[in-house]
């Protein structure tokens, strides 16, 4: 496989996952602001700013963050970059994958053309999330399980780990929301919602939403597909399968991702609060970006 193509696949996986994640977080934050509009505006604004920071987005209005074609960080632009990447690799992805992504792009363009209001924005956000689900489905149903598929999926799970870790980190950052306040009651469910984890969490913890349990679930739940543990374990598994194509080159990459997964799986944090979790997440972020650059150096820069 061409190095340039492998690179494009990896980043396409990342862009699509990032767009899905961002859309979900923005939608959850929009709801939070509506709920807290009367009660506690400060908390709502602070959560909003925290989320934007975790997503590395500038402080702009929701409509610009979603559909502004001139704003490089907008979701429209992310989808357009994913599509440009897909266009570069059309001969290695299945025709159905391209068609699905292209369709999603055009329906976003159509909502820009239709003019923006509350309902088009919300539609665009849920549209992006379901586009990403459809994309995953089409990919799994139609793409050959070669190294290309592995690079694409690795991009997805590296991005997912990073996204979830940042959201948990943002929630733990020192803030005006003290425990036991009304803000505290809403913000933890919002965190779950922004990661599509509400129902899954409730099944595991039917009693109530509680800080320690939420953190534990989002970071260490082995079976929840958007937890840090699940994502790092999947990335490690994918890198192990790369060895089949690259017996020599793949060794260090595999070890690198394997170490991260093990570190998460066997993490032993007793209190699960800012004092323990924040440094843990910082370390995780660091080793994840190291693994990502090692992967790129090994396979994409021939």
């Amino acid at each position: 496989m061409l190095s340039r193509v492998a690179d494009a696949l990896y980043w396409m996986g990342r862009y699509i996952e990032r767009a899905e994640h961002t859309a979900r977080v923005l939608e959850a934050m929009r709801d939070l602001r509506l709920d807290l509009r009367e009660v506690n505006r400060e908390v709502a604004d602070e959560q909003w700013r925290g989320a934007l920071k975790a997503l590395s987005l500038p402080e702009l209005s929701l409509s610009r963050l979603v559909l502004d074609p001139a704003e490089p960080t907008s979701l429209l632009c992310s989808m357009s970059r994913a599509r440009e990447n897909a266009r570069q690799v059309r001969e290695v992805i299945s025709p159905e994958m391209w068609e699905k992504l292209n369709q999603s792009y055009w329906s976003l363009r159509d909502s820009v053309a239709a003019g923006q209001n509350e309902s088009t924005l919300s539609q665009a956000l849920t549209g992006i999330v379901s586009s990403s689900f459809l994309w995953d489905g089409v990919t799994d149903a139609s793409m050959i399980r070669g190294e290309g598929w592995l690079f694409l999926k690795l991009g997805k799970f590296v991005e997912r780990t990073d996204g979830v870790a940042r959201m948990v980190g943002a929630r733990l950052a020192p803030s005006g929301v003290s425990s036991g306040t009304s803000g505290e009651n809403v913000t933890w469910p919002t965190l779950l919602k922004s990661l599509d984890a509400v129902d899954a969490y409730r099944t595991a913890h039917p009693k109530r939403v509680e800080r320690r349990a939420v953190i534990d679930f989002l970071l260490f739940e082995a079976d929840f597909p958007r937890s840090v543990r699940y994502s790092t374990a999947t990335a490690a598994d994918l890198s192990r399968r790369l060895r089949r194509f690259h017996p020599e080159l793949g060794q260090r990459v595999e070890r690198c991702f394997g170490r991260i997964a093990a570190r998460v799986e066997y993490a032993d944090l007793d209190t699960l609060d800012a004092a323990t979790v924040t440094p843990f997440l910082l370390e995780l972020g660091g080793s994840l970006s190291e693994a990502s650059s090692l992967l790129q150096k090994t396979f994409f820069l021939c």
Binding site: L2, Q88, R90, W98, N102, W106, H246, F300, C302
Partner: protein
Amino acid sequence: MRLANYEVDSRTHDETFEPAGGVRPLYREILARLSDLSAQELEQRRKMVELLLRNQGVTFTVYSDDAGIEKVFPFDPIPRLISAEEWDHVERGLVQRVRALNLFLADVYGAQKILDDGLIPADLIYRAGSFRREMVGMTPPQGIFTHVVGTDLIRDENGVLHVLEDNVRSPSGVSYVLECREVMKRVFSVLFEPHGVRPIDDYTDWLRDMLMHVTPRAVGEPTVVLLSPGMYNSAYFEHSFLARCMGISLVEGSDLVVRDGAVCMRTTQGLRRVDVIYRRIDDDFLDPVAFRPDSVLGCPGLFAAYRSGAVALANAPGTGVADDKAIYPFVPDMIRYYLSEEPILPNVPTYIASRPDDRKYILEHLSELVVKQTDASGGYGMLIGPQATAEQREDFKRRIEQNPRSYIAQRTIQLGKHATLIDGSLEGRCVDLRPYVLYGEQIRVIPGGLTRVALRRGSLVVNSSQGGGYKDTWVLNSTEPGTKEERREPSTVS
């Protein structure tokens, strides 16, 4: 859909309707089926076609238009039919022409007999921008220069097909032909039923076979790649489409590197040797060492590797001299010279401004002629005499006098028309035809090709960059609709 008010333009040949207004026999069945559909139904299906094409990314890029850089090539759902008899004639004519052009290139970069014999003035060749002295003395693998040719054909007032242009560099458009047939089958399957339409989906297999045939290295499975300028090129869709259909890598210049005299591509497993390059970038940009030094699209050292026989290029560099507008008038003579045959497909009568007599005639008859700048393409650098203003004619007169070598002129042919769906009813619009010819072990012609249609009323320009659209082209197995023959094997001529 109503057919009653179709206007037949008496100055041109209409392929769908007879001069008196009746439907031509070839089209009776299909128009009957079309008229069963209501205007809304037809429009709905046309929209469905466009949506399918958009979602599949069958688009092209317009450079001058800021509003929408990416456009769906406008598609007309009324298919163009060609009878088996006429196609047989066209096919023989194209094969003859491509053989002669290939012999001409081998000669002009080899012994140059045709120049010695005075058939073509030598200075015409040497002064053509498309002549590559780097190719002199070079015999490409299997002796083939013109691997892929897309010849433009037009019909005159009497319905006779003429060759307007031989495109022997890297003609594009075939992906539209293949995609639009797929879409037509999905949306308008009802129209196919009464006809035996020759399939075209073998094209990419033929193309791959041809590319494998020219491998310079006897290896089990030669590595074939398609070299593209990248995704910002207007034909990028086609490049990726063809690469995908052939199961080969689509590479850009930066993916290639020359090591130890061989061309290699950079893969996740290190460098891998490349045997055949189907290049879709111009000669100028192939190799900054051999050609334009500022090119970043090509690969340094590529041409040297080609000359040493380490890699094959399709088409060969320097083929442009064969489709140069200044050389075009000589093609019928070439056919007689190399093949001792009479040309099967005629040229459009052409005047050469560098010949004093012709020049005098051109300057005196500017208002009746189409003048073409010999080094421009895509409908640019053209004067359509009858439609031009006095000012434009003055301008061209000056330009021709200053630089006669750069101009030829042709009689204005009233381009043949074809029924086309315009706002829910049929109107006649000008069409041309570009069949694709592959030169490998055999010479093969795709049954049909790209029919481009000038959608603007009265327009003669079919180029997509200037308001043109396209339609599906059906070569029928038999002339009489309804009498289906067995699927004919693609005809081949060795």
